[in-house]
């Protein structure tokens, strides 16, 4: 069974004002097939955790470890992590002028699988996946994320999730900016991937609404660069009612 294990992770970034310590000892274990929700106030370090797992060069790991099936993730380059089966659906997907979605998807699929997808089936697979996410076929010929609306960018992230078939996915506020219908469509995409491939999910969100569609096994409250509390789905409901005051007060 696949396991992503984060131990006492400490991360900083360099800013104009000097070194800023963001993650202050994060512990988190996600097994294959499990869905973990992470909730926490703005600026508490959720995206930092997501980017650090993916290997963004801006984040410096000061201590701790990330292991994936016993492999040292921190030793891997960004693309090696993706090929090992880690996926990050970004809070702010990047526009890439001149690179079409079709070309991008085929290149990524080839890189992940180590071989070109079958010419005969790939086109139909992409078309089918786009259809399920209610993406117009014209997106295939457009440049990656260029001029996409916020919601279209998020659908495009989940399209990649479904096509690249990772073992673990970090979804960083994939629900933000989605209308009611899109939220449902995107959630269904995540659930399909979860059912079909036993995807493990780390779902970062501010809202319980998405948790009605994607049922978490565990909820973690993230405050000031650490996990402050852990529980089941009921914890999310409580957060929605009470907010984060309790943790912030405790911290002060």
């Amino acid at each position: 069974m696949s396991t992503l294990e984060i131990r006492d992770l400490k991360v900083s970034i360099e800013t104009d004002q000097g070194t800023k310590h963001i993650l202050k000892g994060v512990d988190l274990t996600i097994n294959e097939g499990e869905i973990h929700a992470v909730m926490g106030p703005n600026g508490s370090g959720k995206s930092t955790l997501a980017y650090t797992i993916a290997g963004h060069p801006r984040y410096n790991v000061e201590g701790g470890s990330i292991t994936f099936d016993g492999q040292d993730v921190l030793e891997m380059s960004v693309d090696e992590r993706a090929r090992a089966g880690l996926f990050l659906a970004m809070q702010y997907p990047v526009e890439i002028p001149g690179v079409t979605v079709t070309n991008f998807l085929r290149t990524a699929k080839t890189a992940i699988d180590g071989e070109e997808p079958s010419i005969r089936h790939w086109g139909a697979t992409v078309k089918d996946a786009m259809g399920k996410l209610r993406m117009d076929p014209s997106f295939a010929a457009r440049n990656v994320n260029e001029g996409f609306s916020g919601g279209e960018k998020k659908r495009h992230e989940i399209l990649q999730l479904e096509l690249l078939k990772p073992k673990f996915a970090v979804l960083d506020e994939t629900d933000s900016g989605l209308d009611v219908d899109a939220l449902k469509i995107v959630s269904e995409g995540v659930n399909r991937a979860h059912e079909e491939t036993g995807l493990g999910v780390l779902l970062i969100t501010h809202y319980t609404r998405i948790l009605r569609y994607i049922k978490p096994d565990f909820v973690h409250v993230f405050v000031d660069g650490k996990v402050a509390e852990e529980g089941g789905p009921e914890l999310a409901e409580r957060l929605e009612d009470e907010g984060y005051d309790r943790y912030l007060v405790a911290q002060a």
Partner: protein
């Protein structure tokens, strides 16, 4: 000093009419003139040279005498090097398009390293369509004039490919005169050569004339690639689009883009937009990018310009790598994606594929 209207810049076909080049002139100040003395002032071989082409229906190729009426029909030199070429060329290479002509590619690859002058004319009959590729390879030390004459309603693409050897020196002035309702698509591709300066101008001389001017260039270490673009809106309801994109990589890679657009008093209803974008891939490069828009009538449709020179975007690289694509390939995708917007405008699959490959080679060499 009063700003001079672009259309009033001094022009002449005679070398002696221009003062000596100091390197401070508005049209020489970015150019490494010290390397170009032989072309600006030296003796030039102006005899016809070897060309290669495959016959294309609707297109004829011939050498004309200097006295032919077409010589000077599109424009005359604005600088001393172009005038030196004009003074010294013996015959003009003329490409004539009639009806719906097939694609014609004229290759010159054996010019050699001694200083030369050349004169080329592409003319299109009323209503003619076609695509002409002027394909330059091998070694060269060349100063030349290229005239493009489109009669009414002609619709023509001219592609000028500079894929010279590393040591080549090349100065070109290209002048297009675009007739009533005619439309020119002009594409400058500069990849190889030590100093390559191609200055295209488009004279939208009659009502409804259109010009789309594209350029793509990739400058390596020590290479100087320059283009001074000039669009003269000189009649009502004329339209122009200028898009030049370049990449720079390596110590001393230098690119220059100057985009002058003049909307004259008679050019009511003009619609124009020009842009230059440069992608900087390493330290030690320099990209000069200077758009100028001069408007002499208030009654226009639209006029805009943009210029941006930016570093390679690490966020784009991260995004692609996060999808499993190795760094090398991610870099290649981003740069090719950026430049291929222009290559795709050519509309000639074989040439497009060749240029894609050439760009890939430039990138591979860049590492």
């Amino acid at each position: 000093m009063p700003v001079q209207t672009r259309s009033e810049r001094f022009t002449s076909t005679a070398h002696a009419d221009f003062p000596e080049v100091t390197g401070r002139e508005v049209n020489w100040k970015y150019t490494p003139v010290a390397k170009l003395g032989d072309l600006i002032d030296g003796e030039l071989d102006g005899s016809p040279y070897e060309i290669a082409y495959a016959d294309a229906a609707g297109a004829t190729v011939e050498w004309l005498d200097r006295t032919h009426a077409l010589v000077g029909a599109a424009g005359i030199p604005e600088d001393r090097a172009a005038a030196n070429a004009w003074t010294n060329f013996e015959k003009a290479l003329h490409i004539r398009l009639e009806g719906d002509a097939e694609t014609l590619t004229v290759v010159r690859s054996t010019l050699g390293g001694s200083a030369r002058a050349a004169h080329t004319i592409v003319s299109a009959a009323k209503g003619a369509t076609g695509l002409v590729v002027l394909d330059s390879q091998g070694d060269a030390k060349l100063t030349e004039n290229v005239e493009i004459v489109l009669e009414d309603d002609a619709n023509v693409t001219v592609v000028s490919v500079q894929q010279w050897d590393d040591s080549a020196l090349h100065l070109a002035s290209q002048y297009a005169r675009i007739g009533h309702g005619a439309s020119l698509r002009h594409i400058v591709v500069s990849l190889g050569g030590d100093v390559v300066r191609v200055n295209p101008s488009a004279h939208l001389a009659e009502e409804g004339a259109e010009a789309e001017l594209y350029g793509v260039y990739f400058a390596d270490a020590g290479q100087h690639l320059e283009q001074q673009v000039y669009v003269n809106h000189d009649a009502p309801h004329t339209r122009s689009r200028v898009t030049y994109k370049g990449a720079l990589n390596g110590e001393g890679a230098h690119t220059v883009w100057i985009g002058d657009v003049l909307i004259g008093r008679d050019a009511t209803g003009t619609d124009t937009y020009e842009q230059n974008r440069n992608l900087v891939l390493s330290d030690g490069t320099r990209a000069d990018s200077i758009p100028n828009l001069e408007i002499e009538t208030g009654d226009i449709e639209g006029a805009g310009h943009a210029s941006a020179t930016g570093r390679f975007d690490d966020e784009q690289l991260f995004y692609l790598q996060a999808r499993g694509i190795p760094e090398d390939e991610a870099r290649r995708l981003v740069v090719l994606g950026f430049l291929s917007e222009v290559v795709q405008k050519i509309g000639e699959p074989v040439l497009e594929a060749r240029l894609h490959e050439a760009l890939e080679d430039e990138l591979a060499a860049a590492r």
